[in-house]
Symmetry: C2
Subunit: 236 residues, 2 copies
């Protein structure tokens, strides 16, 4: 894969959501020697579909195939164009800026959010970065360029889509309790929900399949386990 195999001026950034410890988290990269924190992103090959490029990048960061992906906005302001930032990153990696001039040019970035099962993932940094780690969305480090804005817009879109799409299905393991499902909704919406109303509404959708009980060893009634019912017409 050669530098000139990429489409110039076009990049993508991904907001990769996972759910753990009652919190919504996203993956953040830290670049070598610069202290820059950024969203995982990348470029599009000249003979590659945009969506495939993003899947390819996510596979590299997470090891997962067929990730649930949703494109939500394309950021194209000129204020994004800060050549000195990319220059510092290249220099911090001992890369000759001359050879990668296309990288310091203006970029338009297509932003996606992904939903993945936190437990299945081993976050993996790329060649330019020290780390790729989970951060709770309310405890993010300062992000470079307009990446904070991108995260905010991703979160807003996720909230808006919560009712219409089966978002939570991608954030939970196959089997889960009603309480866990509620916690996901609460983490996304940023507010607490009433237990009985939530349970009634979710069950009335007819998309859940009930399984055996889960005994936690705690001194109280054991909850049922549920899964999303693939046989249900509304589950794609």
């Amino acid at each position: 894969m050669n530098s000139s195999d990429f489409l110039p001026h076009i990049a993508y950034d991904s907001v990769i959501f996972g759910f753990s410890g009652e919190k919504l988290k996203i993956l953040i990269m830290k670049y070598h020697n610069t202290g820059f924190y950024a969203l995982p992103g990348g470029f599009v090959l000249k003979n590659e579909n945009l969506n495939d490029a993003v899947q390819r990048g996510l596979k590299e960061r997470t090891g997962l195939d067929n990730i649930y992906l949703e494109q939500f906005y394309t950021f194209g302001d000129i204020e994004r164009f800060k050549p000195e930032v990319m220059q510092m990153i290249l220099e911090a990696n001992n890369i000759k800026v001359k050879d990668y001039e296309w990288m310091t040019d203006r970029f338009i970035s297509v932003a996606y959010y992904a939903l993945i099962n936190y437990d299945n993932v081993v976050p993996t940094p790329d060649a330019l970065s020290d780390s790729c780690d989970w951060y709770a969305i309310d405890q993010l480090p300062p992000l470079m360029l307009d990446h904070s804005k991108i995260v905010q817009k991703a979160l807003q879109t996720l909230r808006d889509n919560l009712e219409r799409k089966l978002v939570s299905m991608n954030l939970l393991p196959t089997l889960f309790t009603m309480k866990e499902l509620q916690k996901v909704y609460e983490a996304i919406l940023g507010e607490t929900l009433r237990r009985t109303t939530f349970q009634r509404q979710i069950l009335s959708l007819g998309i859940l399949k009930r399984h055996e009980k889960q005994y936690s060893g705690k001194a109280h009634k054991a909850p049922f386990l549920y899964s999303f019912d693939k046989a249900s017409p509304s589950v794609l």
Copy 2:
């Protein structure tokens, strides 16, 4: 404005909605001598915000400033890349393909929909096209490339946003009757609505201001005129 002033590989397409004769319509261009029908679109200047480029294009097509615009998807499949199509358009206009090679390269297109008041507009073709005309969304001619797919996605997004955003405000004149407002909703949703329920729900939002009656000369009770109340907190 020189050819090399544009960002290569990046284009935009716009689905410009208007409402007339109880139907939702969009603007379609017809290219010279080729029989190609297409959405109004254009390119982004190297020192121009993406969103500003779209506003600039819409101003040329409609004569209007400050158009209500919503970005809804970026189309980036390689199957979009059909160099022979752009080549035919250039040749049909006696433009040397050599001088405009960047135009026949692969493009990623950021798609927007716009909402405008039908009556305020004089659709204007550009240098490459014969016409720029209104077509009802259920009577579109065959569109080039993936433009039909773009229209479908625009319509779907418009429907999804109908409750959350004050869409109809941009499609109607300042003063309108309850029946006209209902027709806009019906045209967008593609289904008929119950008169009494619609009226009750819309009024309960508290965003309409009631004005004098409108006497049509017809033999029946005259309806009130309404406007969107700028003083209402939910109207931006």
